[in-house]
Subunit: 329 residues, 2 copies
């Protein structure tokens, strides 16, 4: 393997000089640079990032933690956007991503998880969709070994940042829009998984709407499950004017149930996934730009790794109405 040493010899300069040229250090004359670059080209030299990491003690390695949740269509789409968004931006920023699923962490003891990350020289973590009191997350923060960026799970400390969209506002907005469009006077709300951050935020949003409008609000826990949403809809939808769901998948379940019952109720969802187009009816939903969120998360992590202070960022969302034609490719 051709090393920096060979380049130095070929260029007739010292090893350290080559390193300086390679890393754009000052105090190297143009002439020397040229010599070095030529030697690099001639020898087709590629720096060994492993050696560089060891030497500089900066691995540039970052782990991406994903919550596979109850595996489903919807989650796949979201996770793929997270993954591709993260990786693309990371490569641009010269970070090196290894992907980890929470399912790989379950039934492992927490120390093992930390050991694994440490052994991999991982210095930064991007964590998607993990509730803020998840024990894994707590352990990772507690270890104080990593810079952490969480998405949709606000944590506050100097070496961590959080990014989220205002779930309460979004839930409020989409429900309100649906309510107004249909002149509804009561709401069936199918909530997400218990104890989740986004679940409780969205609950706040819908609660605020009901309070402001002074209309009845029936809340049932649908746990982000299509089947549960379906069953709850079959059971409760007749009694309320509109069905507001904490996720698109649930909205689809609700819509299907309504079609089976042969009654009409406006339904709205949350997430803006493609599957919405297959629900059979138009629906309002909240589009979160997951790719962009991921990309921002990477940038934020980079900032932390470069010594920046932790901060909180709120990104925007968009209300959309989805139907089949929107997804056809």
């Amino acid at each position: 393997m051709v090393s920096i040493k060979d380049v130095a010899k070929q260029a007739g300069v010292a090893i350290s000089t080559v390193s300086k040229v390679l890393n754009n250090y000052p105090n190297v004359s143009e002439e020397t640079k040229k010599k070095v670059n030529q030697a690099v080209a001639e020898l087709n030299f590629v720096p060994n990032s492993v050696a560089a990491a060891l030497s500089s003690k900066q691995s540039g390695r970052v782990a991406l933690l994903l919550n596979l949740g109850n595996v489903s269509q919807a989650v796949d789409e979201i996770n793929m956007q997270y993954i591709s968004g993260t990786i693309s931006r990371a490569v641009e920023l010269n970070l090196d991503v290894i992907t980890i699923f929470d399912s790989m962490l379950k039934n492992k003891n927490l120390d093992e998880v930390v050991r694994y990350l440490r052994s991999q020289s991982i210095t930064g973590l991007i964590i998607f969709g993990m509730s803020k009191d998840d024990r894994v997350l707590q352990k990772l923060i507690g270890a104080q070994l990593f810079k952490i960026v969480t998405v949709d799970a606000p944590i506050v400390n100097a070496s961590s940042s959080s990014i989220w969209i205002d779930q309460a506002a979004a839930q409020y907005d989409v429900a309100r829009k649906t309510l107004k469009e249909n002149k509804g006077r009561s709401i069936l709300y199918l909530a997400g998984k218990k104890n989740g951050y986004v679940t409780s935020e969205r609950l706040k949003g819908i609660q605020r709407l009901a309070d402001e409008e002074e209309i009845p609000l029936l809340i049932r826990n649908g746990a982000f499950s299509e089947l549960q949403a379906r069953n709850l809809t079959l059971r409760y939808a007749r009694k309320k004017d509109i069905v507001v769901c904490a996720s698109d998948l649930m909205a689809i379940g609700a819509m299907r149930a309504l079609m089976d019952m042969d009654i009409f109720r406006p339904v709205c969802g949350f997430d803006g996934i493609t599957l919405m187009g297959y629900a059979g009816k138009q629906m309002n939903t909240v589009r979160q730009n997951f790719g962009r969120i991921a990309s921002e998360a990477v940038e934020e992590l980079k900032r932390l790794l470069d010594g920046g202070e932790g901060q909180q960022m709120v990104l925007d969302y968009e209300l959309v109405r989805m139907e089949y034609d929107d997804v056809l490719v």
Copy 2:
């Protein structure tokens, strides 16, 4: 940071001895092992894999190349199964995966791609869904720097293996089943993207069926696109008894078109993705177990990295009939 040196001191042995214990080398007495392990525990020592990689020249780093193709729901689901299948197994085998999307490679010159992989000390590649004469793939093989496992793109050489399912047989089977169940006597076949390996294999399968049954076969190129499948169905479905599609997504497009036309034709797909449940009708399809394929690919790569010879593997598939209840969670 606590290093192997500290462990050696604490245990009262030499560095090399610690290393031997850590890596299960022979010729270390039980007693010494115990001392070392105790020291490791006391100091909470975690080996630095970067240093190990540099020293041993075995990075254990592997890249996973994914074809995002025309980004869609279906592709997301398949890719997620590939990714999670790959990563889970890789961690078990102590390989270290970095994920790359072909979209990150487009409009990069090929040398850059190789340089990137080299600089990352990547020694093995798992490549999903890339046609065998893709220029990137060709370049990677040509570089002779990597052990490669391709999925659904047979290549033959000593440092490469390929895994695939028998696309022709699967296409034949599912189409035949659909034909027989419905006593059809003619076929409209909507094919996949031109020049793809799986496309041409599946074509062979459908062709064989038509030949054997001595029935008319109309082939149109639908490029794995839902919209194209829809349009082609609108145009040609009346003339044939059944519609055989080269992918589930196309099958859904076809089914929707038929519903719009208000005529009935049996449709079958290929892949077995969840989305099929939302098509509105039951359909036959071929279920490929993408997770298992990924897992096998990782094992095969490990074998290659350990010095094994390249080989070809054919995995099995399964005919299924999918409907809404199958996907409800």
